[in-house]
Amino acid sequence: MRDFGYARAGTAASAAAALADPGASAIAGGTELLNWFRLGIAAADRVVDIGGLDELHGIALEGSVLEGGELRIGALATLNEVGEHPLVTRLAGALASACLQAASAQVRNRATIGGNVLQRTRCPYFRAEEPVPWPCNKRHPGSGCAALAGRHERQAVFGWTGDCVAVQPSDPAVALAVLDARAEVLGPAGTRTIPMREFHLTQQEAAVGGEPMRETRLGPGELIIGYRLPASADGQAYIKVRERASYEYAIVSAAATVRPAEGPGGSRIAAARVALGSVAQRPWRLPAAEAELPGTALTREALTPVIERAMADAAPLPQNGFKVTMARNAAVRALLRAAELTAGGHL
């Protein structure tokens, strides 16, 4: 790890001012940043420790659940704090579940909910130590994409380009996207909010914007200070499919919310939201399914074709067609599980 200068920020404003310098990086938990430094993915001359900023801590309910209340989660809450907090388990169960299925118990005691969504792809060609022995446009723009010609079974089925086929691996980001969370961001121009379903960019979206390697809408010097989520009484679930039962990145994942309605023929969906994870460089909401799901019976047989139609534009790579089927099934499971959790009486 290269040497760097270190300072503790006393206020979010002083941190933001220091981060306006492109040679500066913020550190909170450091679980991702230290590995970037070791691999040469990032290098900083100055590191600003934001870990002591009280205003970035705290989990609270603002307003009431039934009348448009919001859950406010500070960026420095650790994944274990978010995942085990009673307000989060009660009002944002998909997020709690996603946090506790991420990483390991000891990593989750350091990793923060603010930093988590800024983690970068686990594509093995990207995670190489300098000097990177193969092409990777994220590491060395213009060098090419070794994954496209090489192994890419874990990479994208939506939104990729010939320049990069990587997926965003965050679990919490998928839950934040399905829950219509907004990130509160502090930057040189003051504070603003970014909807989490638009926070990350696919390679195609980045190319349209003229910056093909851009990964998020976060601007230079901007810092996530917290999130706001509409408090929801809907059933919620996060399903993570992986090769090991624990401490492993997702092959695919799915988050869902369901408000069921009892009808003469059994339970049907009154309203539902669905997002897929690890299928693109951003959490992948399925708006076509969300439009079609109301009135659909809560059975595997009825849900599967709805999800299938909403995923008709999937464009798998030669080695990852299985992810389309796996993601479809995960979405169906997430919807069924979310409905069960409503029936269990969340409130």
Binding site: Y6, A17, T31, L34, H57, Q106, V107, R110, A245
Partner: protein, 193 residues
């Protein structure tokens, strides 16, 4: 409000019950500092990227990977390593005793990390059954694959702790994660800054 960036930083912390003041380069990890500056080689450098858990130590009672923590981030914290587990007379910690009784290791390389993780796992209340222990101990890899014995040792130590409350609180723990929220509390803060 301009920040002063330092390349040598004085850090005061509590290490295994002893106050220590040290001057470190900011890039020094807690793991490297413990092993190379303090001579505490119990925590191991297995993967140095947070994947194996053999560097697990307690920071204010919470288990963390020493390789993913900078020493400068531990100012004013209480650090406990495997060297700090034994009692004042050198008697093994109940979790150490349970590991020995259950043969919960073979080569022993991962054991210091397993022990620290187990102490925290029990204090957190995550040692209630086999499946929960396996999930909450998954951050500690054992390449000899002593997992069944490790799980048994953690459960036995947890049961013993329940029988004798207060004997196994994680050293330095203020409150276990998940127990911080008073019932009905609208706002809680982590004990970590």
């Amino acid at each position: 409000m301009t920040l002063d960036f330092a390349h040598r930083v004085a850090v005061t912390l509590r290490l295994n019950g002893r106050d220590v003041t040290t001057v470190v380069s900011p890039r020094t990890t807690l793991l490297d500092w413990l092993r190379e500056e303090m001579g505490l080689t119990g925590a191991k450098k297995g993967c140095n990227e947070g994947a194996c858990g053999t560097c697990t130590v307690l920071v204010d009672g919470h288990r963390m990977n020493g390789c993913l923590t900078l020493a400068v981030q531990c100012a004013d914290r209480e650090i406990t390593t495997v060297e700090g587990l034994a009692g004042p007379g050198g008697e093994p910690h109940p979790v150490q005793r349970a590991f020995a009784e259950h043969d919960a290791f073979q080569c022993g390389y991962c054991t210091p990390g397993q022990l620290m993780s187990a102490v925290a796992c029990i204090a957190e209340g995550h040692a209630c059954d086999d499946g929960v222990v396996r999930e909450w101990m998954s951050g500690n890899i054992c390449r000899c694959s002593a997992y069944p014995q490790i799980t048994a040792a953690v459960l036995a130590a947890a049961q013993e702790a329940q029988g004798a409350p207060g004997t196994q609180a994680a050293p330095g723990a203020q409150a276990a994660p998940g127990t911080q929220a008073a019932p009905g509390a609208q706002e809680t803060r982590g004990t970590r800054r």
